[in-house]
Amino acid sequence: MDTFSSCHPLISFVFYLFAIGIPVFYLHPVFLAIGLAAAIVYYVYLKGGASFGKVALFILPAVILASVLNPLIVHQGETMLWYLPNGNPVTLEAVIYGIGAGFMLASVISWFASFQEVMTSDKFMYLFSKSFPAAALLLSMTMRFVPRFGSQIKRIRQAQLCVGRDVTNGTIRQKLAHGMTIFSIAVTWALENSVETADSMKSRGYGLRGRTNYSIYRLDSRDRLILAVMAAEIVAIILMIRSRWVYILYYPLFTINALDWRAVTCFAVYALFCLTPVIMGVNEDLHWKRIKNDTVI
């Protein structure tokens, strides 16, 4: 587990919300490039370069598909490049927008690749349990039930195999009927066992008034500091966008802000924000090295 994953779930949640949200709602090419790069850097930092290959398999088609499809479907824009066989024009603006949308998809996919590693189910549940306690418990019970149900179906299938009967035998109708039999007995099994689960819940006082929620997470001083820094960065970025330090317009004519000091400031703050996990991780790694060197034993 890296440093960022060890932070309070609220931090991970806020981070991903804005790291993904800003470029999605504000399709600026520089934001997109920074976001995608940071997402890839963090994923590679977490899992190593080799496992990024799998993610790239999803990214490439997304970029290509979006940049090809958009100009074929959207015909807004003033700069016409050529005409399609059906008479519709292909515009430069639509091509640029398509590429932008493609990169947006790519960065979302890349962020979600690390999101899966960082935001485990229990962190997700913790965030929800505050506002929806009953739903959170239900979710937790479901997370327990689904794999159990699956393995019971597997067990029944195996037992059926022992007596020479399998879903892979016989005609399609026989297979279907057999699959249904297995499913229905698995449901019976689940209902049967839920009686005991209910007993176990009742016996431990479930249903009493004033249920509390316990979690293993604590918002410590480091977490509060990081949260404050992230909040400041987010507010700064939003303010800078609103006061048009950066701007972009795709249709009817592609216009973009000039690369002056104000724009660079805005991009730098966003880059800093996106690199929070990597900066934290590298900082911790260096810190460890220092401790090791200082300890003369």
């Binding site: 189910s121 229990d122 418990l137 937790s140 019970m141 997370m143 327990r144 794999p147 159990r148 393995s151 019971q152 067990r155 029944i156 195996q158 037992a159 059926q160 195999l161 022992c162 007596v163 020479g164 009967r165 035998n169 016989g170 026989q174 039999t181 297995i182 007995i185 019976t188 099994w189 049967e192 066992n193 839920s194 005991e196 689960t197 007993d199 176990s200 819940m201 009742k202 016996s203 431990r204 006082g205 479930y206 249903g207 009493l208 008034r209 004033g210 249920r211 509390t212 929620n213 316990y214 979690s215 293993i216």
Partner: protein, 578 residues
């Protein structure tokens, strides 16, 4: 001082039943006591246990009273009962509610509305006490059965109950995990002073922990006293067969003095008994065992043979079975014993043709197993899975049996369609053979563990297999059903069927097996005739053998020891008790 619990003339009848499940139950449980309740399946022991807590008390008509610390149990709030009376059920899996170990530990305290700070402390405390730290953050489905049951115990203990009720908590565990669980219970009782009421059928270990033992029969208390006194109280009653071996031997030989409970006490008592009987070192059968009975492991009439079999689940994973050589004789009950996770179940699946080895051969009647094709699992090999429940697919036992006969493959094998009458007759015959014909209209899930086992066997027998492979057939079955199962096995082998079982159950294999093999580290280390096999081992052997091996190394069952002592007595003249 008022006792912790007091039952006064409790009678209870389930709705729709004529006979009461509990009759005239009167007893007290004092604080800090370790009480063990035992009895045959259906004797009412679980029903009685459920009366200790109103939240799980069954519906039905009831008379008499139950007092908790002198107050009527019904008047005590759900909140107080939830925290002060802890309950652990039989199945390790079903009682777990949430998906994370830490969340499960906190579940009870969340319900009671404890402050998160308090929960944090209690969870930490209990996780340390039970040694859960190393798997504290895990998902519950990554845990072993033993760990799950420890978790269930710990998540009840976080609420700091005064009394802990447990309903056959070890019946689904292997002996090692069961021993660990019972040891933990003893630790709770000794170190925390928690009162424990345990319903259990595996008594060997637990009787020595118990302050008192309650034996139930037909809804009544048959005996309730310290284990040492059970001998005289239960004389002549068939419940005595469930008692630990030293007690049984002591009883059969009309022993005097306090009853031995553990193997050590049994050995000390036996030595005194033999010496006072006039036997001395010269008369003891001291032939050390140097030769195993190899002939038994290499039967003349081999039906199933494994030749240098190697198996692994994935190419990159380690071998589960390595260089396995094994022969099973026709019409014999062959037992494969071994610890947990040694690959016994995998081996059984390989022998049954469910998994294919990457090297080596499995021969049935001299022909490779693959040559039987689709017919393998009808009339050649039948496999009883570890959990017989997974074999049932219909709503009644009868339908389930008939379902086996409606199979298209069986039709083609018989060369004709069977009439409905014929199928019914065959199903009925199998049910009678397995002694479950009184349960034909019940839902298979409503049968007891032993009955499910036999119903599953009946299903498999309808396919008329020559070889039956059984995966832990005695798991979760009490002593009486085991005896019944052994009789059925005898019937089957007498009919010429070959039975191969993998098991943890040393006592069962010693008493009823023809040939025993020890499985270790992916292959069979040694095989021998059952008797010689156990006589040669010092740890992996029966309680009777451990008790008497010094004087009669060949004695494996309680009957052997009793017989041996009588022989020695007659050699030495009239015995005189000390």
């Amino acid at each position: 001082m008022t006792p912790l619990f007091e039952f006064k003339d409790l009678n209870f009848t389930y709705p729709g039943h004529d006979l009461p499940a509990l009759r005239n139950i009167s007893f007290t449980v004092s604080e800090g006591e370790f009480l063990v309740i035992c009895g045959k399946s259906g004797c009412g022991k679980s029903t009685l246990l459920r009366h200790f807590k109103t939240a799980i008390t069954p519906y039905g008509s009831r008379s008499g009273s139950i007092l908790f610390e002198g107050r009527d149990l019904a008047d005590i709030s759900v909140r107080e009962q939830a925290s002060r009376i802890g309950f652990v059920l039989q199945s390790p899996d079903n009682q777990i509610v949430t998906d994370k170990v830490w969340h499960e530990l906190a579940f009870g305290m969340e319900n009671l509305g404890y402050d998160p700070g308090v929960i944090r402390l209690r969870v930490a405390e209990m996780a340390s006490f039970f040694g859960i730290q190393s798997w504290f953050m895990k998902n519950v489905d990554e845990l072993s059965g033993g760990q799950k049951q420890i978790l269930n115990l710990a998540s009840v203990m976080t609420m700091q109950p005064d009394i802990l009720l447990l309903d056959e908590p070890t019946s689904q565990l292997d002996p090692l995990a069961a021993g660990e669980f019972l040891g933990t219970l003893r630790k709770i009782n000794m170190e925390l002073g928690t009162t424990i009421v345990l319903v259990e059928h595996r008594l060997e270990e637990v009787v020595s922990y118990a302050d008192r033992l309650m034996v139930m029969d037909g809804g009544e208390i048959l005996a309730l006293d310290s284990p040492e006194k059970m001998g005289s109280l239960l004389k002549g009653n068939d419940m005595f067969h469930a008692m630990p071996v030293p007690m049984r031997i002591y009883d059969a030989l009309d022993g005097t003095g306090s009853t031995p409970v553990t193997v050590r006490e049994g050995r000390e008592w036996l030595e005194r008994r033999l010496r006072s009987g006039g036997a001395d070192d010269s008369t003891f059968l001291r032939e050390a065992l140097t030769k195993l009975d190899d002939a038994a492991a290499d039967p003349a009439d081999t039906i199933l043979e494994a030749k240098e079999v190697w198996f692994k689940y994935e190419k990159d994973l380690p071998d589960v079975v390595q260089d396995l050589n094994f022969k099973a004789g026709r019409g014999q009950l062959t037992c494969i014993l071994g610890g947990n996770g040694t690959g016994k179940t995998t081996t059984l699946s390989i022998l049954g043709g469910l998994l294919r080895p990457y090297r080596g051969k499995i021969l049935i009647d001299g022909k490779p197993i693959t040559s039987y094709g689709k017919d393998l699992h009808t009339r050649i090999v039948g496999i009883l899975p570890q959990n017989p429940q997974s074999l049932f697919v219909k709503d009644t036992v009868m339908d389930d049996l008939l379902e086996m006969l409606e199979r298209p493959s069986l039709k083609s094998l018989l060369g004709r369609t069977q009439s409905g009458e014929e199928m019914r007759a065959r199903a009925l015959h199998a049910a009678e053979l397995m002694e479950i014909d009184h349960k034909l209209d019940s839902h298979p899930y409503d049968l007891s563990g032993g009955e499910q086992q036999r119903a599953a066997l009946a299903k498999i027998l309808l396919l008329d297999p020559r070889i039956l492979l059984l995966d832990e057939p005695t798991k979760g079955i009490d002593g009486f059903y085991k005896k019944k199962l052994a009789d059925i096995f005898k019937k089957l082998t007498a009919e010429g069927k070959t039975l191969i079982m993998v098991s943890h159950d040393i006592e069962f294999c010693a008493e009823y097996g023809d040939v025993c093999h020890l499985f270790f580290n992916g292959n069979i280390v040694t095989g021998s005739g059952a008797r010689k096999f156990f006589a040669g081992n010092s740890f992996y052997t029966t309680a009777s053998n451990r008790m008497a091996r010094k004087w009669m190394p060949d004695a494996v069952t309680a009957e052997d020891v009793i017989e041996g002592v009588r022989t020695l007595d007659s050699k030495a003249g009239d015995p005189k008790e000390d």
